[in-house]
Amino acid sequence: MSQIPAAKQGHRPVAVVAFAQSHVVRAETNSNEVEMLMPVVHEVFAKAGITKDDVGFICSGSTDYLIGGPFSFVTALDAIGVWPPKSESHVEMDGAWALYEAFVRLQEGDIDIALVYGFGKSSLGDLDKIFALQLDPYTMAPLNPDLVSLAALQARVVIDQGIATEEDFAAVAARSRRSALSNEFAQVRRDDSVEDLMAEPYAVSPLRRHCLPPISDGASAIVLVAGDRAFDLVERPAWITGIDHRIETHAIGARNLAVSTSTAKAAEMAGVGEGPVDLAEVHAPFASQEAILTTALGLPSSTVINPSGGALAANALMSGGLTRIGEAAQAILDGRAKRVVAHATSGPVLQQNLVCVLEGA
């Protein structure tokens, strides 16, 4: 039996043993959320070699505002078929936070296996209009600021503070798209030169179109297992050795948008700096956000960033953060890496952030 690496949080070791995701596309017109999710859930069960009957807890992440109705998570349960009834919960957050809830739930020793999933179809509505409703309802939402304009304000601060340039943004986008060429699930898979990208007109200055995430539909799922049982299911479980999340104030004007104090705090709590980092999956929907996050995470320059292509290549909302954890964990499951970092973000211009460190035994 391999040695399980010690964890910063919790007293019972928990590992990712399987990850599955849908092909992320601009518009999944052939299936609804349940139909999009069902094959992903079946695949993740198959990879873990379990059935729903083995699962002691289910937790999901989604948001009603993408579908434009109440209870988007309710019918999604039909993708699993919770009969007989299951212990189940849902966060109105990215699936990464559902994974956190499941990690906590596995600490008590009464159950060993949890299923986590996230899903979202951005194609159903107008994201700029929808996400304006996420802002302070009394002072900000009535101004109707769109997602890209808010990110542009942040990018301007990044440039003004000398953290990155427009060329740096283009280099991040070019690298992400190129990395995605080897990720069949990604949406934007291209080999673009920085020069070509810099020739694009501004979408909202200083952001060009390549700095923006694609609009995506998609879903992902993870199976978590606590204790030695993980070794029964897979050869190289990806042990969660640190996981933490933090939130900042909603008042955008009260934050220095070029730094991410919540990411830095979560990274410290998760112990990112306590060992080498082979690769990191960073949830930076805008190219201008990557430098803020890699700095806050304290990643060494040797770390490979977003080998999946990241959110600039596929940006399925509410599963994007969970997918970062899944992609990072997969590198350990495949034996490609020993110690990895995954990050998830939520809220306007990086308000809330989660950091997860995973290690092989």
Binding site: D64, P84, S89, M93, I247, H250
Partner: protein, 391 residues
């Protein structure tokens, strides 16, 4: 391996149909500050915040917890947002309790709210969805046929629901925070009120309320500190559970859902309860429509199937001489800030076993059930709290 969990502080707002004196932030903060004061601690003592509410469309704000982070002292801390339909107030408390039980945190602030006057829940529940049966008539329209099925199966007398409506409103007169205060409530008044969804009269339905609930949940150590500084004893969590089942499938028993029975069995097993009517001193159960009292009496094992109505009819569930008082606070029938309604049940159960329920206190209460349900009676969250520290 689980750590013991205690309710060391509770707080709630004065529930009203319109709390236009406060913003949403002001509403949740009002409950949270009361909970902190009750726990004898400050914002700095809180390790994490877990917040819950029913669908975001009820206020028209997407993920309102993001905007509430500062108002709830969560900046720089972990904040989780739970949404499990009507059961959410209970589920939120359970998620928060697991953060303590799992040994992650010492003190967690958990909050739930709804500001129904900011929007229209009936509208929000009735948005047509492709390929889904529309609710159209809101929750009452959904549950009325299920109640009819219960009446037919059990042979319960027609006035059973009306008795619950009267009883819970009489209880509410003893609760300073309750929304509805109807000193002249009577069987005649309920019967004369307009028929909303046959067999439910207007007065057999819950109100629309603005309100919030908050609790500080703590470890054994935090509980000892709170008791030493405030002189008020904590409520101990003896068992907690959640269960979900699909909304619809052929043969689903919607009158007596399996998920509710399983959830109760789980929580009773943890708490060592084999006869809930005898071993529990009172219960705060999610009864948004009067007839759900007899239905849940059966689902939760207080009465054999088909006989829940007999307890209601005999007065067993009344604070006035009943052996197993249900909803001494007035329940959901008297205050319904939807997202908070489940947490209010959990909170009121804790108040009872702490001996702090004031006029609606069940004398000598040592063990109580808190219960919430949601969706098409398919999501359940429950806990049993006790005055004694569990073994």
């Amino acid at each position: 391996m689980a750590e013991r969990v205690a309710v060391i502080g509770v707080g709630q707002t004065y529930h009203r149909s319109k709390r236009d004196d406060v913003s949403i932030a002001g509403l949740v903060r009002e409950a949270a500050v009361r909970a902190l004061e009750d726990a004898g601690c400050t914002w700095d003592d809180i390790d994490a915040v877990v917040i819950g509410k029913a669908p975001d469309m009820f206020e028209g704000i997407m993920m309102p917890e993001l905007y509430l982070a500062a108002a709830l002292g969560a900046v720089g801390k972990p904040m989780l947002r739970v949404h499990t339909a009507g059961s959410v107030g209970g589920s939120t408390a359970v998620v928060a309790a697991h953060l303590v039980a799992g040994g992650i945190h010492q003190r967690v602030l958990t909050v739930a709210f709804e500001k129904q006057s900011d929007s229209d829940a009936m509208w929000a529940l009735s948005v047509p969805q492709p390929f889904s049966a529309p609710l159209l008539a809101g929750a009452g329209g959904y549950f009325a046929p299920i109640i009819r099925a219960y009446m037919r199966r059990s042979g319960a007398p027609l006035d059973t629901g009306m008795r619950v409506a009267v009883k819970d409103r009489l209880h509410a007169l003893k609760n300073p925070y309750a929304h509805l205060k109807m000193p002249d409530i009577s069987m005649e008044k309920v019967e004369e009120s307009v028929m909303l969804w046959d067999p439910l009269h207007y007065l057999e339905s819950c109100p629309s309320s603005d309100g919030a609930a908050a609790m500080v949940l703590g470890s054994e150590k935090a509980a000892a500190q709170a008791e030493a500084s405030t002189g008020r004893r904590p409520a101990w969590v003896h068992g907690m559970a959640m269960r979900s089942e699909p909304t619809m499938f052929a043969g689903r028993n919607q009158v007596n859902p399996q998920a509710g029975r399983d959830c109760a069995r789980d929580v009773y097993a943890q708490a060592g309860i084999t006869n809930p009517r005898e071993q529990l001193d009172c219960a705060e159960v999610y009864v948004p429509f009067s007839w759900y009292e007899p239905m849940w009496l059966e689902n939760l094992g207080f009465a054999p199937e088909g006989e829940g109505w007999k307890l209601t009819q005999s007065g067993a569930t009344s604070l006035d001489g009943g052996d197993i008082p249900w909803n001494c606070s007035g329940g959901v029938l008297s205050s319904n800030p939807i997202g908070a309604s489940g947490m209010l049940r959990f909170l009121e159960a804790a108040l009872q076993v702490r001996g702090l329920a004031g006029e609606h206190q069940v004398e000598g209460a040592r063990k109580a059930l808190g219960h919430a349900y949601g969706g098409g009676a398919q999501f359940f969250a429950m806990w049993v709290v006790g005055a004694d520290r569990p073994e």
